[in-house]
Amino acid sequence: MSLETVGTALGLILTLMVFSYLIDDTPVYRLAASLLVGLSLGYFMAVVLWNVLIPHWRESLGAPDPARRPWLLAEWILGLLVLARGLPRLGWLGDLGLAAALGIGLGTAGVGALLGTVVPQVQAGAGQGISLALAATLLALLAAQFYAPPARIRFLAPAVQGLQALGRGIWAFALGALFGGALITAISLLIGRAEFLIQAFNRLGG
């Protein structure tokens, strides 16, 4: 029996174990889920070790650019400082590494979101006046009861209620679109698994 056949058989068994959830929350389903989580974690650790840590360690030892070595050394120090979080007395050292990681990450993400999403979107919608997306967002916020008309302008209550109804409709439309996309994805995955099962039965049976 070839390695490919063994892999196919294992895939078939695991797929059937996961599909047993259609019957009930069975132990075999939980076993398959636990196996998936364990393998994922082990794979992640292996990838981080061989694709991140070891290459960076080799680069730190033999960086051709001497000016780059202090930065690589600083990366290692900050990374090792995070491990100090496990020691109660040295936990403050771990905060340095976490602060650097969070500060750099949040700063970069904030700038990236501003320059990469907000500004281009506003620029794209500026030529069309008030964009439809902005109006839909405001209506959805109104529907979420962030605004209630004061008593002195009670005569505007029907108009506000109509606006909120429209916002709720837009909200429902957005949720429906998200649900439709998720459903199409799920159907695509189901088709893929069904084809795999049929092919696996044919291969193992024939």
Partner: protein
């Protein structure tokens, strides 16, 4: 250190609340304040009437009218039988000021009001406290005759035949508020003389009792301080007055045995005895000694003479008279009346801390569970499905699977694949890459999305490699790196026109760092092999990757990865370099704004576009049946939802009442 006024536990000075009983601590809290329970020894707040520990009624002094000025109610407790015994055994938490207790533990306090709050005599001591149970004499007035105990008169009448063992009766009397009798009164009492045979026995007393002295005169001040009515026998007087002269070693110390008389006499006993010193056997048995006191009794050394006090701590012999145990003695252990231990004595018993008990219970629960966790949390399940609901579930499952299998193998009459158009803009962007150009492929989907997105990677690889376009694959997730490795490793052009850089950590900066770095500075491919060893390295040169690529292809099922690539790549890429995306169907709403803003030039969505990358699906081809199955399942889902809404519309009570 400070003493808790409620439980007597020693607490650090800095704490404000006792960690044993929760009572408030502080400089204003007097450790001697409160009322000691005579039964359990618990120190209660001054205002309570019944003990908070055992419920016994706290002692209330029968204060005669006019005596309140002499004995203020807030007078701290200075003497009781508990505090006296505590001084005997130092390992017990102190609840009375040691300085106020006489050395040796039996000395009466000098404060007149000390015995007022001493409380009732415990049950266990009443058997030997006969005289103290008699009604207390009224306060003598100036005109009336001084009160004399009847037994004192009898003893006086019989000459010297009734010596006494004296104990702490004096504070009990003084605690009543009676005015101390003047010395002339003592002179009028016909005190019996001490018998000479008893004086001879005094020489045999241990040194701790003090040196034997001659019988004191009735008018001596020492006798008047101890008791207003009685003259002390000289041997007892020596015990009680010895601390003022030369403090003896405390009982229980090494080499100082505890006199049995003192053990049995108790602090309140004024008892008649046949001869001084009285034989222990003559003392009424002390059968109801509290259990915590029994635990504190001194253990005689090995080889030493055992204290003969059977009535003190030996349980009475019980002989069974009926049943199968008839004739046996002490088969069932004697249970004294005072079984429940409260107060300081209860804390002497070692018990595990609550957190340890909780931890042990958690471990026990975990061990008892075994492998039952695989069976699931049954308690968290909703109401069990009935037969009808179960049949509905099985029917729907069978219907979906049946339609799926049917659509995968049999052409349906209503399905026309010509209505599906290929993603033209997406294919055009791929075709615009010049021959020999470089395409950066971002593979950010895992095995869970492979059925939907793997077609894009395979199709782009075939389409571009055929024109001599080089592909550089990279992933922001380890799972995407795994998927790309499976596809790219199988390519015969790996290293020639295809290379996989693997997983890039740091999602927020990884793309920008990648595009600003040249390939010769990268550590290697996904297996750690040097990129300079591949022929493709010469193609890419030493320029940063962002300036070398001709197209960026995003194949992703994650909105975070999509945003990261768009936000970081667009500012670093030349304007003429397009970014195209192939995303899952669930990401269509997320990618649309970027397409509208022009940040993404073209997009392909879902399995449908992946199946149409090679052109229209011919009837009977695998792509045809896949498209047919997808369409059939979508229509079936829409129908099922519509039927469910219709049923819900006409039978609303079914859902509202069912709680589903």
């Amino acid at each position: 250190m400070q003493i808790c006024p409620m439980c007597g536990a020693s607490q650090p000075t800095a704490v404000e609340r006792c960690d044993q009983c929760g009572a408030a601590l502080g400089p204003g809290m007097d450790p001697e304040a409160g009322r000691l329970c005579a039964v359990c020894g618990y120190r209660n707040p001054p205002e309570v009437v019944f003990c908070e520990q055992c419920g016994a009624r706290l002692g209330v002094a029968e204060t005669p009218p006019g005596a309140s000025e002499a004995t203020p109610p807030s007078e701290p407790i200075t003497a009781d039988w508990v505090s006296a015994l505590e001084d005997l055994f130092r390992e017990m938490p102190s609840e009375a000021a040691p300085a106020e207790a006489a050395p040796g533990g039996l000395g009466p306090p000098e404060e007149p009001g000390g015995a007022e709050e001493a409380g009732e005599i415990p049950e266990g001591l009443r058997g030997i406290a006969g005289p103290s149970e008699s009604p207390r004499p009224p306060a003598p007035e100036e005109e009336t005759e001084p009160f004399i105990f009847p037994w004192a008169e009898e003893a006086a009448g019989e000459g010297h035949e009734a010596p006494f063992i004296f104990s702490e009766a004096a504070p009990e009397a003084a605690g009543t508020g009676e005015t101390p009798l003047p010395a002339p009164f003592l002179e009028e009492i016909p005190w019996p003389e001490f018998p000479p045979e008893a004086a001879a026995d005094v020489a045999a007393f241990p040194e701790a009792w003090g040196p034997p002295e001659a019988p004191a005169s009735p008018a001596e001040p020492a006798a008047a301080e101890i008791g207003p009515f009685l003259e002390l026998p000289p041997e007892i007087e020596g015990v009680l007055t010895a601390p003022e002269e030369a403090p003896p070693e405390p009982w229980g110390a090494e080499g100082v045995p505890l006199p049995p008389e003192a053990e049995m006499a108790g602090p309140f006993v004024l008892e008649e005895a046949p001869s001084p010193p009285a034989a222990p056997a003559e003392v009424p048995p002390f059968t109801e000694m509290p259990e915590w006191l029994q635990a504190l009794q001194p253990v005689p050394e090995e080889g030493a003479e055992t204290l003969e006090a059977p009535g003190l701590w030996a349980a009475p012999t019980v002989e069974e008279t009926r049943g199968p145990l008839a004739g046996l003695v002490d088969v069932i252990p004697f249970v004294p009346a005072l079984v429940a231990v409260h107060g300081p004595g209860a804390r002497l018993h070692a018990e595990p801390a609550p957190e340890r008990q909780a931890r042990a219970q958690a471990w026990k629960s975990l061990l008892d569970q075994g492998l039952a966790f695989m069976a699931g949390e049954r308690v968290a399940r909703a109401a069990p499905l009935g037969l009808k609901a179960m049949a509905e579930r099985w029917l729907l499952t069978a219907l979906i699977l049946g339609v799926l299998v049917l659509a995968l193998y049999w052409p349906l009459p209503l399905f026309q694949p010509t209505g599906f158009a290929a993603p033209a803009a997406f294919l055009q962007a791929l075709d615009q890459v010049p021959d020999g150009g470089v395409v950066l492929v971002a593979v950010d989907y895992g095995p869970d999305r492979a059925a939907e997105l793997e077609g894009y990677l395979q199709g782009a690889l075939r389409r571009l490699s055929a024109r001599g376009v080089s592909l550089v694959a990279v992933s922001l997730s380890p799972w995407g790196a795994l998927q790309a490795a499976q596809i790219f490793e199988a390519s015969p052009d790996y290293g020639q026109r295809v290379v996989h850089l693997g997983y890039l950590p740091g999602e927020e900066v990884a793309v920008a760092r990648l595009l600003s770095t040249s390939l010769d500075r990268m550590p290697g491919d996904y297996r750690g092999r040097s990129l300079q060893a591949f022929p493709m390295a010469a193609t890419l040169g030493t320029e940063p990757l962002g300036r070398r690529v001709n197209l960026v292809l995003l194949i992703t099922g994650s909105p975070e990865a999509l945003r990261a690539w768009v936000q970081q790549s667009r500012p670093l890429l030349p304007r003429e370099v397009p970014v195209v995306a192939a995303v899952g169907a669930s990401l269509a709403p997320f990618v649309a704004p970027y397409v509208e803003s022009g940040q993404i030039q073209a997009v392909a969505v879902g399995l449908r576009d992946a199946l149409l990358l090679e052109g229209p699906a011919a009837e009977g081809s695998p792509a045809f049946f896949d498209l047919q199955a997808q369409s059939a399942l979508q229509v079936l889902t829409i129908l099922l939802i519509g039927v469910g809404l219709t049923v819900n519309l006409f039978q609303p009570s079914r859902w509202r009442g069912g709680g589903r």
